[in-house]
Each structure stands twice: as C-alpha cells, then as structure tokens.
C-alpha cells in the first residue's frame, strides 16, 4: 500500500472550473473520504488520481513520486465505480480474473484461481463465481466490483460512490463489511460520497469538497463538532443543524424573532452572527426556554420534535418514542457547551468558553 499526495490539483472543463488548487495527503493504510454534493469535484479528483483525467495544474504523488505521466494501467490503482463496471458478457470469475490477466501482470492460472477464490470468500460471493453478471442483484454486483479491486492488491483503492445505487438496507450492511475489510487489511482507500452517514462512519479522515475547493480536512468527530463553516455544518448530521441569525448583547446570545436567550460570557463574539445548534443538544422538558410542540416525528430509535419558539422552529432529537403532543407548551434547554458560531461570511468563530 502507498500514500497518496495531491499537490495543488486544478482542472477545468470547457471553461468551467472543476477543481481549484486541491491539496491533501492520504496516509498509508488510511480510509479517506471525500464528501460533497453533486458537482463538487469529488469524482474528478478520483479520476485524476487514477489517471483517467489529466489535471491542468498540480501533481499527483504516490509514495512521494509523481505519477502524472503514467497511464491508468501503470499507476496500479483499483477503481470501484458507482455502477456499470462489471463486464456483462463475462462470468463473475472472469470479471474477477480480468485485471489479473492484464498484459501488465500475466499471472499464471493457479495464482489467478487462488486469488479470485480468496477474494470471493472474503466478500461471500464464492457461490456466484460461475454466474453471468447480468444475473446478479445490485448488492452482489457491487460485491463483485469490490472483489475485482481486492484481487489486484493495488497500491491504492479508489471508490466512487460504490454503495449509492443500493437500497438502504443493503447499503448499510455492505458499508459495515467494507469498513471491516478495510480496517483488517489496512489498505489505503480514497472513497467518494455525497452521503454524510457514509463519510462519518467509514472515514479516518474526511475532506469536505465544495465547488472544486477543499474546505475542511479533519477526523469525522471534528468535522461534526467543529465544522469550519456553515456549509460543513449543514453537510453532516441528521437532522440538519439548527441555524439562527442571532445577536450578542448584555451577556446573552439572543436568537432573532424568538424569546430564546442564552447567557454567555465571552469576548470576541460579534454583534451579529449565525448560531448553530445540533438537534441532539436541544433537550425538551428541562431548561428555561419556552416553546410549543409544532410537529412530532417518531423514527423509532429516536424522535424528532419541532419546537416553535417565537417565530423560529428548532429541531430537537430525543431518544425513543415520546409522549409529547402537538401544540403542547414545553420548556426546553440548549447545551451551552455545544454552540456553534458563524460570522457573516459563514466561517466558524472559535470561542474560548469563559463562563
């Protein structure tokens, strides 16, 4: 396995900037997730690393050596596509063996069979080897795709939303298996997704990409707890983080159009800013804020409460099913140690709590 470094990669498509000056390093054995909405440049980044796309500027390095002039075949990376990459005219075995039969490798047949069987076992597709790929279910197809990457023992795994075409239940179980296999093998993996749950659960580190720019690179916990700006804050967490235009005066954070006021002693907060509160940090039933239940969404393991306070609505997440009823007047509290502040440009304001 290798480490991968991107130095100032930029890319334009017909006058439209796809990537601007993207730099990051994926350490040897690390699971790195690029998270961003459609069109953020995630897939382009992956394709530049694989050599399927030529960057306009910058350099890609494997283990410190530039690979920019090498063809995709010579870079020795494995690419798992979102879909379509299984060859429909071949059996599962031939699909798995295909990369091993490449003129670059020319492995002998016993070795090929050994590696294919081993990978198939790991992904529990051993019983499918003789089947044509058209006869596979979506989940099985993606297992084979991942298998085709694993047999190669490449320097880097590149995965382009490999789970996004699967239904929810399958996505979840395959995700957990993928996580397990990666951790066991310690393979350098670059995984692209627009699904924040995948990013948070799989990654050692997440890089958040927006409009071709890398906004924040950090461990999942830090992305969640210390988002660098409003965009990152909104990109992770279900339900979405509560955001309110707020002001600071008389030692209190005051939410506009609402009676919500939080005593807060801190220097350096501007007068106007955006306050961010995660739904799990809003606790109904205790505290001195007042509101009214506007909607109850029971999800089973937890319940999302919409609490109306003045002209704003807060989302609150509590575990289990609740007894709250529509229109009920309640009191609620907001965890003051877990407030997020963003300035007018949307950037995080780091505050040292001085209560």
């Amino acid at each position: 396995m290798a480490n991968v470094e991107l130095r100032g990669i930029s890319k334009r498509f017909r006058g439209v900037t796809a990537l601007r000056d993207v730099s990051f390093t994926v350490a040897d054995g690390e699971f790195f997730v690029l998270l961003g909405p459609t069109g953020a440049g995630k897939t382009t980044t992956l394709r530049v690393i694989a050599g399927l796309e030529k960057q306009d500027g910058g350099s890609v390095l494997f283990d410190g050596g530039a690979v920019d002039s090498r063809s995709p075949a010579e870079r020795d990376v494995a690419f798992v596509f979102q879909q379509y990459s299984l060859y429909p005219t071949m059996t599962v075995f031939d699909n798995l063996a295909f990369p091993l039969r490449s003129p670059l490798r020319k492995l002998d047949n016993t070795e090929i069979t050994r590696r294919v069987t081993e990978a198939a076992e790991k992904l529990r597709i051993g019983h499918l080897l003789q089947r044509k790929t058209e006869r596979l279910s979506g989940g099985e197809m993606q297992r084979v795709s991942i298998g085709r990457a694993i047999v190669r023992q490449p320097r880097v795994f590149l995965m382009d939303e490999p789970l996004s075409n699967l239904d929810a239940k399958l996505r979840e179980s395959l995700r957990v298996e993928l996580e397990h296999i990666q951790k066991k093998q310690q393979s350098t993996t670059l995984f692209v997704t627009h699904d924040q749950v995948e990013a948070l659960t799989l990654a050692d580190r997440i890089g958040v990409l927006r409009e071709g720019k890398l906004i924040q690179v950090a461990a999942p916990r830090d992305i969640y707890d210390k988002p660098a700006n409003l965009f990152v804050a909104q990109s992770v967490g279900t339900p979405r983080i509560n955001l309110f235009p707020s002001t600071y005066s008389d030692g209190s954070v005051r939410v506009a159009d609402s009676p919500i006021a939080l005593p807060f002693s801190q220097n350096g907060l501007p007068v106007h800013f955006t306050l961010g509160v995660r739904a799990e940090d809003v606790t109904p039933g205790q505290g001195d804020q007042r509101g009214e239940i506007a909607l109850v969404e029971p999800l089973g393991v937890e319940t999302i409460l919409h609490i109306r306070s003045g002209d704003v609505t807060l989302l609150s997440m509590v575990s289990g099913m609740t007894h709250y009823r529509l229109g009920e007047a309640i009191s609620f509290g907001i965890d003051q140690d877990r407030l997020h502040f963003f300035d007018a440009k949307g950037d995080r304001i780091d505050v040292e709590q001085g209560r």
């Binding site: 394709r47 694989a50 050599g51 399927l52 063809s71 995709p72 075949a73 870079r75 990376v77 494995a78 690419f79 596509f81 979102q82 879909q83 379509y84 990459s85 060859y87 429909p88 005219t89 295909f98 990369p99 490449s102 003129p103 670059l104 490798r105 085709r148 190669r152 590149l158």
Partner: protein
C-alpha cells in the same frame, strides 16, 4: 379526474399514469380477443407484403409459357427448372438436323434435356454467376470496411473530445444528402482517369464511402449507450485503450454492429446506378445484370425471376443469421440517436 389527464398529456413525464390499456385488462376475455385480432392482423400484413416475393418464387419455377399466361397461373402449372437453367447457361438454337441428332442421344444431363425441349443447346455458363460473385465480393468487402472504419470513427466521436465534433458529424452525414445520381458523371470521369473504371476496387471504395456516413452515425449511437466506465475500469485494471475496446466494448456492441452491418450490406448489395455507370464487364454486379437477362424471342420472365430470387438469397441469409441482434438493435440504440 383531472390529475389523471394532466399526468397523461405532459409528454416529458415518463411514468405518467393512467391509460386505457390498464382499463382494458378489466375484462380478461376482451384482452384475449384483442390479442387474437392483433396476431391475425400481423399475419395478414405479413402476407400482403410477401406477395411479390411469393410471386417471384412462383414465376421462377414456371415455363416460359406459364409465366406469361393470362389469367395468371397460381397452382395449375407444372413446375420446371427451365428458368434456372436459362439463367445459368448460355445456349444456342439448334437447327432441325442437329435437333434430331441431339434427341437421339441418351447421355444428356437433366439440364441439357430442359434446354433441348426449347430447341436449344447449352454452350456454357452464363455471366450471371460471375456477376453474383462480383456482388458478393464488392458488397461484402465494402460492408466490412465501412463497419470497421465506421466503428473506429464512431468510437472516437463517442469517447474523445474531437474539436468541432458536431460539425464533423454533420459533414459526414451531409455526404448522404445529395442524390447519388448527381455525382455519377463526375465520378465516372474521375474513375476513368484513375483507372478505377470497371474494377472491383472502384466500386468497393465508392460503396464504403457512401456507407460510412450511415455506419458512423448508427454506431456512435450504439457506443454512446455503452457506459464508458467499462473501458475505464479495464484501463485501471491494466489494459490499454485498444485492448479495453476489443475485450470490453466490442462484445457489448455486437448488437449495434450486426444491425449496422445489415443496413450497409443491403445498400451495397442493391446499388444499381453506380454499378451501371462505372462497370461494364469485369466488375459488373448483379443488379444491372438481371434486367439484361433477355431470352430469344421475348422476355424470359422465369429466368429473370430465378435471377432475382438468387439475388435475394445471400442478403436473406445474412439477415436471418443476425436477426436476433437486428431486432434489438433497431428498436434500441439506433433510433434514439
């Protein structure tokens, strides 16, 4: 219910519900009747369309007299191979004395017997055979060339950023826009200069060029539908682009290639005007030959019918062999482009 009508009439809304077909299955028997009617109708239509071919086949087995009989004979004639013999042979008319001599001979083959009945003697094989062979060589080679060149061009247009791509594609198609007859005279003169007149190569080149616009467009449509992830996966897996094309793209493009092949072949096979103008003897193909099958003392309708039938058979065989792909090919890729 107006929601319903809304959904129905908005064209770009694919799953627009409602429809009368779902109402039809309300009554099982009427659905079955409808299906029955459809099948009968299909047979009737197919029958109507096949009448000319059927008549051709019938005529080729008639004697000269039966072929021109009024009212036309459909079943009440004695089948004979006279038409085929006349088609495939050159004959001379025997004078009375030699006729007598021939009639006394017992070592005559069946085809010599047939010729004898008309007072003729077979002197050799007719030019038809050679010209059918010319047709096979010229149409076959030009089709293969057009498909291979078209495939490479189409692949490039489909996968690479070709500067001025749409202009090129339009230009390629535009070669098909003017009626071929318009350019026959210039090409005739040009070919005379280049020594391509009455050569196989001349017609092969011409047909290939004419078919290329068709093959490039059709195949581009098919290749566009094959996701490029397939080749990219192969390229990442250690193959060159050409290897990926051969191992991964080609097997999936078979349907499109088959359909394109048949269309090209039919054009090259049936082409008449250029063949007539640009060939005289050596490279002349079957289409300009058939109308010249004239017997002595009148048109030999049965021979012409036999010639046309023989001319049909190769294309029918090719189409038949490729029919599975053809149907899928015509209904999917091509039309969407």
């Amino acid at each position: 219910m107006s929601e319903t009508t809304n959904g129905e009439s908005v064209g770009w809304q694919p799953s627009a519900p409602v429809n009368y077909s779902t109402r039809v299955d309300k009554v099982g028997t009427s659905a079955r009747t409808a299906r029955g009617i459809r099948i009968v109708l299909a047979f009737v239509l197919a029958g109507v369309m096949l009448i000319p071919v059927f008549w051709l086949g019938l005529t080729s087995f008639k004697s000269r007299a039966d072929a021109i009989a009024v009212p036309p004979k459909v079943v009440n004639f004695t089948p004979t191979l006279e038409g085929f013999v006349n088609l495939l042979s050159d004959r001379s008319v025997l004078n009375a004395r030699r006729l007598e001599l021939m009639k006394e001979r017992t070592d005559l083959t069946w085809y010599e017997e047939i010729a004898l009945k008309n007072g003729q003697q077979i002197t050799g094989i007719s030019q038809y055979v050679g010209r059918l062979r010319n047709s096979v060589i010229i149409a076959g080679t030009s089709t293969i060339l057009a498909v291979i060149l078209g495939l490479l061009a189409a692949y490039s247009f489909s996968r690479f950023k070709v500067p001025g791509e749409s202009d090129w594609l339009f230009f390629i198609l535009s070669t098909r826009m003017l009626p071929p007859v318009v350019v026959t005279i210039p090409i005739f003169l040009m070919y005379r200069q280049l020594g391509l007149h009455d050569t196989h190569l001349g017609l092969i080149l011409l047909y290939t060029v004419f078919n290329l616009s068709l093959t490039v467009w059709l195949l581009k449509g098919f290749l566009d539908e094959i996701p490029r992830e397939y080749e990219e996966a192969a390229m990442v897996d250690g193959y060159t682009r050409l290897q990926a094309f051969r191992k991964v793209v080609l097997p999936q493009a078979v349907t499109g290639i088959a359909a394109t092949t048949v269309f090209s072949l039919i054009f090259a096979w049936n082409e008449y005007a250029f063949a007539l103008m640009l060939t005289t003897e050596r490279a002349r193909t079957a289409p300009p030959t058939i109308p010249t099958i004239l017997g002595r003392g009148g048109v030999e309708w049965s021979a012409i019918a036999a010639g046309s039938l023989g001319f049909l058979i190769p294309v029918v065989i090719v189409t038949f062999v490729l029919r599975r792909h053809l149907l899928r090919g015509v209904t999917f890729g091509a039309i969407r482009q």
